[in-house]
């Protein structure tokens, strides 16, 4: 199973998470987002970039409750709440945003 763009093939697992996180780039993110029916607004990018920074700092993809709390701490309560995040990523902000960010499935999601 793989994503394909510009002649590049990027392998992913059965749920759509890319298997080699080092090959991620913004163009690939747009392709995964389209697959998930997510429109990448500036707000959506903000969450995806937040997750990539979180991974860089802690080496894990956070569970949704942890993501919400961390965003609240950094970007304030208007963005650090479940309702806002579910509007951007209806099938689960941690799962969908992590997939688009090229990260593994969040730790603490089943």
């Amino acid at each position: 199973m793989a994503y394909e763009y510009n002649g590049t093939v990027v392998e992913h697992d059965e749920e759509g998470y890319i298997t080699d996180i080092s090959v991620w780039n913004p163009e690939l993110a747009l392709l995964i987002a389209a697959d998930e029916n997510i429109e990448m607004s500036d707000d959506a990018w903000e969450v995806v970039n937040f997750l990539r920074n979180y991974y860089e700092e802690y080496q894990i993809a956070p569970a949704v409750r942890v993501l919400t709390k961390a965003i609240k701490k950094k970007l304030g309560p208007d963005k650090g709440n479940s309702r806002y995040l579910y509007e951007l990523f209806p099938y689960g902000p941690a799962k969908q945003a992590c997939k688009i960010a090229g990260l593994p499935k969040p730790t603490g999601c089943i």
């Binding site: 700092e57 802690y58 080496q59 894990i60 956070p62 942890v66 479940s82 579910y86 730790t107 603490g108």
Partner: protein, 130 residues
């Protein structure tokens, strides 16, 4: 119920203690145990983590894994706070035997004696040692 609405907490909350006794690399016990700790915490259980024997090396600052080709996951211990895991105990005797102090560790911990650790273990519903 809408997906963003808070679910009610779990019906049963148990006291779990995860006891780490091995060095961080060479086996996957330490890394796997950390993942399980985070998963338990995400399920809103009462989670404590203990480090003794060579397990205290898991929390050592400035780990460098370039020579062994394994991911340095020590930064992930700093996410314990985000997962509301606040009860982190390190056995004093194990630190002393290795010439370490709390200042050598990547996160703030509670340093406890062997006797105090024994008492903590006795208070748990579930103890998982790795």
């Amino acid at each position: 119920m809408e997906p963003w609405e808070e679910e009610e907490g779990p019906e049963v909350v148990k006291h779990f203690m995860y006891v780490n006794r091995r060095a961080p690399y060479g086996t996957i016990f330490a890394h796997e145990c950390l993942e399980v700790v985070l998963i338990s915490a995400a399920f809103e259980q009462d989670v404590s983590v203990a480090f003794m024997d060579d397990g205290v090396y898991q929390l050592k600052k400035n780990q460098d894994t370039t020579g062994i080709g394994m991911k340095n996951f020590s930064k992930t211990y700093r996410a314990l706070d985000d997962y509301d895991v606040e009860k982190i105990y390190v056995e004093k005797e194990s630190l002393d035997a290795r010439g370490l102090t709390a200042d050598d560790l990547i996160i703030p911990v509670e340093v406890v004696s062997t006797q105090a650790m024994r008492d903590l273990l006795g208070q748990q519903d579930v103890v998982i040692s790795s």
